[in-house]
């Protein structure tokens, strides 16, 4: 729909900014309410927020209001500019990441030929923000957390990208829209009723992507950088009020956006089997289908987060370099050979 608009550039830009904000903030809010407030509460035999609004659905507004009212504290020895800028850098990477996710045949922000490549590249920007937060806080806990986060995020970037490569080889394109269409038009041994969501042929890559995604999001069992029982909250320790809220939004929004990318790459993205992908109705149904898949994937993320203990720093590096990367490389080789053979 956005593409079909032949309006002036400023109108399109405004529309895309509003759409991007909605895609990040609304999804993040939904995930906080569904998963952090309710799903986890039921797992831990409690009810979660019940007072604010029906079933506590307005609790999020209360929380945001609380954070906005709080004092904006700078530690005395902090590097003020770096400290203040860090949450924005982290959140910026999320906003840059969301632009590559297509929501329908015409509902996209950027239809780039190198879509997934761009996404993987901008997702690394958050490392800089986290390192800035760790260094700028002038706190030992923050510094330890920031350094741990940097080592971990760089290590898990590799299996993430290598897992994506399998999909790219199979789809023969890096364009996200193209990957969705390739899955919609794909066939499994000549049977094309449901297309070919790549979870079926790239199951190994999907698992690697999920594990690496969990690490990129620094969720348990890979939450060594935050490790609230030892480093208090790692690089976020010194943040309060609005800036903490930005980190908080960044955490959940990134979970949503990464899940959206996983949904596009492996679960078929926005297409519905049986409906022509070029049909205009997909611009309305597509985002709904995509968000449903996002909720399912983030459910797995938070289910794991609240069940497992966390790895030690050296153990999680070992998992990345000795297990995930070799398997991902083998997956690429097998995919390439099969691609040539069939």
């Amino acid at each position: 729909m956005i593409a079909a608009i032949t309006d002036p550039w400023w109108f399109q830009t405004t529309l895309r900014v509003v759409g991007g904000l909605a895609a990040v903030l609304l999804v993040a809010g939904t995930l906080v309410y569904l998963h952090l407030f309710k799903m986890v509460s039921f797992m831990q035999s409690r009810l979660g927020p019940m007072e604010a609004g029906p079933f506590g659905s307005l609790q999020l507004l209360a929380e945001v209001g609380k954070f906005i009212q709080k004092e904006d504290i700078f530690p005395r020895k902090a590097d003020r500019f770096v400290f203040a800028a860090a949450p924005f850098v982290v959140l910026m990477s999320t906003f840059l990441l969301v632009v590559v996710v297509p929501g329908g045949p015409d509902a996209w922000f950027v239809d780039s030929e190198i879509g997934i490549y761009l996404g993987m590249a901008v997702s690394s920007v958050s490392v800089i923000g986290i390192l800035m937060a760790g260094w700028g806080s002038a706190s030992k806990y923050s510094l330890l957390g920031g350094l741990r986060a940097t080592g971990q995020l760089i290590a898990y970037e590799l299996p993430l990208i290598l897992a994506v490569l399998g999909v790219v080889i199979q789809a023969e394109t890096m364009n996200m829209q193209g990957i969705v269409l390739a899955q919609a038009e794909g066939e499994i041994f000549g049977w094309g009723a449901i297309g070919n969501p790549y979870i079926l042929t790239q199951g190994v890559a999907f698992l690697i992507f999920l594990i690496a995604m969990q690490a990129e999001l620094t969720q348990t069992p890979f939450d060594m950088p935050i490790a609230e029982s030892e480093l208090v909250t790692g690089y976020m320790t010194e943040y309060s009020g609005m800036r903490f809220l930005l980190f908080f939004i960044g955490e959940f929004a990134t979970a949503g956006v990464f899940s959206a990318i996983a949904a596009v790459l492996f679960l078929g993205g926005w297409y519905i089997p049986g409906i022509d992908p070029a049909n205009n109705i997909m611009n309305v149904l597509g985002p709904i289908v995509l968000i449903t898949k996002v909720v399912v994937l983030t459910f797995i993320v938070f289910w794991v987060r609240f069940t497992f203990p966390r790895f030690r720093e050296d153990q999680l590096q070992k998992l990345a370099w000795k297990v995930l990367i070799p398997i991902a490389l083998a997956n690429i080789v097998v995919t390439g050979v099969l691609k040539v053979a069939f």
Binding site: S45, K140, A227, E230, V232, P309, R312, E313
Partner: protein, 390 residues
């Protein structure tokens, strides 16, 4: 040996100098990290001053005393029945167990013996406070390695035991129920069946924790081989309770020296583990909770009748003398050394609390471990701050 030419020697000196320069440039500085007194890992106000080289601990020093309340001195101005109110607060998670050794020591001085029914109920409450205490540990151990949910399960199921303790004593955390010569009251009606139901729930909680943590590869990777205490070193530092049993020392005061409690009439087992690491300490405590639930069931079945209070004077004056009694409390061996001059108040009370000795091994144990393991090791040693500082 061949003679070294001048040229060789000069190049050797130059290389040495270059090495030295590089070493000076790459010289790193250790970082001192204050863990605590306000920190989520220490559950209380313990402070650990850790000198770090990167993530590795070079030296760690526990600093205690932030919560010192002077109980040993305060007992000197309180009559014997008043003291139990105070010492409830030493190990606040299993508080009934704190009262028992003090009362037993005072009874020993007065040469009074509680009637059998009182002894049995004492043992029941003693074991139930152990269950309340250690089930908290089982959840907390998950929390220390990053699993949040077991802690909630622990708080949920500990409630069953606390409810039963409250039904008898009127206090969930600070019962203040033990008296010289017996107990304040008898059991309320219907308590026995309710308690049996609670024990069943605790057993299923143990199975749940076993499934959540013991079989989990990450949990085992984080705890196995971490913080190994050899038996001789553990004994040298005065470790007791599950901490030393996890190192393979078969020593349980309940079995070896049951003064005043009836553990010797029950069918139970002292669990030990050979490894001595964090996992062994977790495992031994898990088995101990199961053993305690079995004990409580047996005690409830064989509960004798009769009064719960022996004949003691209305105003308690303890004859002059000295007595020491120690029992196997949830955290380890706890003992009271009472010196009496025949007054209404004790002349001097020395409290031997388990956590104080258990924590004394930390400088030895934390040397060379990584920062994340500090938390695991401290969690597996399991101390209560009130029990350290008193």
């Amino acid at each position: 040996m061949t003679a070294i030419s001048d040229r060789d020697q000069l190049s050797y000196i130059a290389a040495q100098a270059a090495d030295a320069r590089v070493n000076v440039e790459l010289e790193t500085e250790g970082m001192t990290l204050n863990i605590g007194p306000q920190h989520p890992a220490t559950h209380g106000t313990l402070r650990i001053v850790a000198k770090l080289d990167g993530e590795q601990v070079i030296a760690a020093d526990p600093v205690m005393g932030y919560m010192h309340r002077g109980y040993e001195k305060l007992t000197e101005v309180r009559t014997y029945p008043q003291v139990t109110t105070l010492i409830n607060r030493i190990d606040w998670v299993g508080s009934f167990a704190n009262e028992v050794p003090f009362i037993l020591a005072a009874e020993k001085l007065m040469e009074v013996e509680a009637p059998p029914r009182a002894q049995w109920i004492r043992t029941i409450l003693f074991e139930m406070s152990r269950i309340a205490n250690i089930s908290l540990f089982l959840g907390d151990m998950g929390l220390q390695v990053g699993a949040v949910t077991p802690a909630f399960f622990a708080f949920r199921d500990r409630e069953h035991v606390l409810n039963q303790i409250e039904a008898v004593t009127g206090g969930r955390f600070h019962p203040n129920f033990d008296r010289i010569g017996g107990l304040k009251d008898d059991l309320p009606a219907g308590w026995i069946t309710e308690t049996k139901r609670a024990m069943k729930k605790i057993r299923s909680f143990c199975d749940e924790i076993e499934g959540l943590l013991q079989g989990n590869e990450i949990f085992e990777a984080r705890t196995r081989g971490i913080g190994v205490i050899p038996a001789d070193i553990g004994l040298g530092y005065g470790l007791s309770g599950a901490n030393i049993r996890a190192s393979g020392v078969d020593w349980d005061t309940r079995r070896d020296n049951p003064c005043g409690l009836v553990h010797d009439e029950l069918d139970w087992k002292v669990w030990t583990h050979v490894d001595g690491d964090s996992f062994a300490r977790f495992w031994v405590r898990l088995q101990e909770v199961r053993e305690s639930t079995k004990m409580v069931d047996q005690l409830l079945d064989g509960l004798p009748g009769g009064p719960v209070m022996a004949k003691v004077p209305r105003i308690i004056k303890v004859p002059a003398g000295e007595a020491y009694v120690e029992t196997e409390n949830p955290l380890g061996v706890m003992g009271y050394y009472i010196v009496s001059k025949g007054d209404l108040v004790p002349y001097r009370v020395k409290i031997r609390s388990a956590s104080f000795n258990n924590i004394s091994i930390t400088p030895w144990l934390l040397k060379g471990v990584y920062v994340p393991d500090i938390v695991t090791i401290l969690g597996s040693l399991y101390f209560i701050l009130g029990d350290i500082d008193r």
